[in-house]
Assembly symmetry: C2
Homo-oligomer: 126 residues x 2
DNA sequence: CAGAATCCAAGCCGATACTG
DNA sequence: CAGTATCGGCTTGGATTCTG
């Protein structure tokens, strides 16, 4: 975890929060606010390793994008869910997605439907 | 330049367009639509090398975020400026900045002013 | 002036194995 | 179940030199 305020640049901070290879996938997965367990996330994000998953979750929790709830049962159960800040961020990500979607339609005739698309929803815009 | 449509995921595409270490600095610099010459950009972005600048400009031009105009004088003059698509993207970046700014204020009492902040403007929001 | 070519360092990420 | 430890490759970016 690097310096918390990234030289006091808010845009750079935001980019660092959602940067990296797997953060968007995780945020997308938790988009409807329901709790997700560690291994469930791992199964739902194909290709992610334990190292990257644990690291990404820790970073997102550190920044308050998601919350971690641990239940000391046997075996232990841990649930992650998006915070209010995460939900706000999600809204911005939807706009970035819509911009990209518009961009793709402008520059080609490809259909906009994307099977493995992050943040995909039934409508183009919410 | 990797695959143009990034597995057809518009959000990933957008992130790739503005990803990397220097793209945001360059976009920010051209924010008011005025033309900038290569060496002027280089002087205005401290620490950037020729390799990274040329690479970033080429990528941003490839994605239609900025346009490149070459004047065959001696010596040659090249001007870069944001396109309409770049201006739209800039608007989204402002929102990301505002989110980060709000985030920073929520989590600390630091003043929000940031000397080297990207996309900095006189008001917090436009 | 506006870049391109080359080489090198650092850090991100993957694979595998292990643990409370 | 929910992680951590370790090693190694590969990508990203930096430094330097060179050119139309």
């Amino acid at each position: 975890m690097d310096s918390f305020f990234h030289d006091l640049c808010p845009l750079r901070l935001t980019m660092d929060i959602i940067g990296g290879k797997w953060k968007l996938n995780i945020i997308c997965l938790l988009k409807d606010g329901t709790p997700w367990r560690y291994n469930a996330i791992k199964r739902a994000v194909p290709g992610i390793t334990n190292v990257m998953l644990a690291q990404s979750l820790k970073s997102l929790e550190h920044y308050g994008i998601l919350s971690r709830q641990q239940y000391n049962e046997v075996p232990v159960r841990v649930e992650y869910r998006l915070t209010a800040a995460g939900m706000e961020l999600l809204e911005l990500l939807r706009q970035l997605r819509d911009w990209g979607n518009q961009y793709m339609q402008d520059f080609s005739n490809l259909e906009s439907h994307c099977p493995q698309c992050l943040l995909q929803e039934s409508e183009t815009s919410r």
